[in-house]
Symmetry: C2
Subunit: 230 residues, 2 copies
C-alpha cells in the first residue's frame, strides 16, 4: 500500500489538474461569448455538473477564475496568431503573417465570440485592478509582437528605416480591429478587404528590396514570400 | 386640501421621474466605465443612498434598468455626435462632421469610459436577447447615419455615384474604431491622425465638385466648408 501511495497521489494531482483545465475551458467558452462578467461560479458549476464548493476547491475566488480564464484566452490567442506566425521567416513576411493569422482567428471563430480581446479591451481600458491589468497585458503582448516584426523587417532592410515601428503596429492593429467590427455587422467582404488594406500598408513601408509587383495582390505577395524563402 | 391634491400628485410624479432619471444617470456612469455587467441593484442603491426596494419600485428588474441605461447612452451619443452633426449642411460636410464629432466624443470623454458602444458592441455582437438587440440597434443607427450622409452627398454630386454608401460607412467606422483603440493604448496622435485619414478617404470619394486643394489638410477642408456655406 505504501508503495502505491505516491502513484495514487500523483493520479489525484493529475485528476485535479484535468478538472481545473476543464473548468477553465468551460469558463473561456462562456466569457468569450458573453463577457467575463457572465462568468459566475453558480453557472459554471451547473454547466459542469459540479457543486459550488467543488468548484471553490479549485478556484478560491471569482477573481482567480477570471485571471485563469484570461490567461487561457491569451494562450489560445498566442497559439492561433503569434505562434502560428513564427513559422514565417523574420521580416516583412512575419509581419504579414501576424496580420493574416489575426484575421484568420476572427474568420475561423477561434473564440466562441468577439469578447477576447476586443470587447474586453474596451471594457477594461480605463479601469484599474488585476483583471484590467491582465487584459492590457495581453493587448500589449500583441502590439509588441507587431512592433518587433516591424523592427526585424527594418533590420533586414525590407521596411524603410525611418518608419515608426510603434505607430506602424498601432495602425495595422487599428485596421484589423475596424475590420473585425465591420465583419460583425455583417459585411462578408470585411476580412478579405482588410488583407488588401494590410498589403497596401506594407507596400507603403517597404524598401526597394521588395519588388513592387509582389504587392499587386494578396496572392502575388504570398507567392513572392513562398518563392523567396524556399 | 382637495384643491392642492392634483399639484401634490404632479409633484410626486415629477419627483418619481427625477429619481428615475438620477438612477439611470448613475447607472450610465457605472456601465460606461465598467460595463453593463458591473451594474447591480445593490451597488446602485448604495451609491445613491437608496434602499434596494426603493430602487426596485422604479425598475422592476435588472433587465429594465439595463435597457434604460442603454437608451440613455444612445441619447447621450446621439446628442454628442449625430445631432451635433446636423448643424452642418447635408452632403460631404455632414459626413465629415459625423466623423469629427465621433472622434470628439472620445477626446472629450463624453462617456465615463470606453464601454459604450465599443466594448458593448464586441461583447454582445454574437449574443441574442433584448440587451444585445438594443446594443445592435444603437450601432445600426450610427452606421445608418453615416450611410445616409454618404447618399446625400452623392445626391448633391459631391461624392462619386458609383461609391458603395454602405461600404463607405463601414470603412469610415472601422477607421474610427481602430483610432479609438490606438488612443486608448496611449497614442496621443491617434485621434488627430484619424481626422487626416477620414479626410483622405473623403478625397478618394469626392467628385470634381470639390476642389482638390480643399483636401490638403483638415484645416483647409474646414475653411472650405465654412466658406461655401456662409
Amino acid at each position: 500500500m505504501r508503495k502505491r501511495a505516491p502513484k495514487a497521489a500523483g493520479d489525484k494531482v493529475l485528476k485535479g489538474d484535468a478538472t481545473r483545465r476543464a473548468i477553465v475551458g468551460r469558463a473561456l467558452k462562456i466569457a468569450a461569448a458573453e463577457g467575463l462578467a457572465a462568468l459566475t461560479i453558480g453557472r459554471l458549476a451547473g454547466d459542469l455538473g459540479m457543486s459550488k464548493s467543488g468548484l471553490f476547491a479549485h478556484f478560491r475566488s471569482k477573481r482567480t477564475l477570471e485571471l485563469a480564464t484570461i490567461d487561457r484566452a491569451r494562450d489560445v490567442f498566442a497559439s492561433a496568431v503569434s505562434i502560428s506566425a513564427e513559422d514565417s521567416p523574420e521580416g516583412i513576411g512575419r509581419l504579414w503573417s501576424l496580420c493574416h493569422f489575426w484575421l484568420r482567428h476572427v474568420e475561423e471563430r477561434v473564440f466562441a465570440g468577439s469578447y477576447f480581446f476586443a470587447g474586453a479591451f474596451f471594457e477594461y481600458a480605463q479601469q484599474s485592478g488585476p483583471v484590467p491589468d491582465r487584459i492590457r497585458g495581453a493587448t500589449r503582448e500583441w502590439l509588441a509582437a507587431l512592433k518587433r516584426a516591424v523592427k526585424q523587417a527594418q533590420k533586414l532592410g525590407e521596411i524603410e528605416r525611418n518608419a515608426n515601428a510603434e505607430r506602424t503596429a498601432f495602425e495595422l492593429n487599428g485596421l484589423l480591429v475596424g475590420a473585425h467590427w465591420t465583419h460583425l455587422v455583417g459585411d462578408h467582404e470585411a476580412l478579405r478587404k482588410a488583407r488588401a488594406a494590410v498589403l497596401s500598408k506594407l507596400r507603403s513601408l517597404a524598401t526597394r528590396e521588395i519588388p513592387l509587383k509582389a504587392f499587386e495582390s494578396v496572392r502575388d505577395f504570398r507567392a513572392y514570400l513562398k518563392e523567396r524563402h524556399r
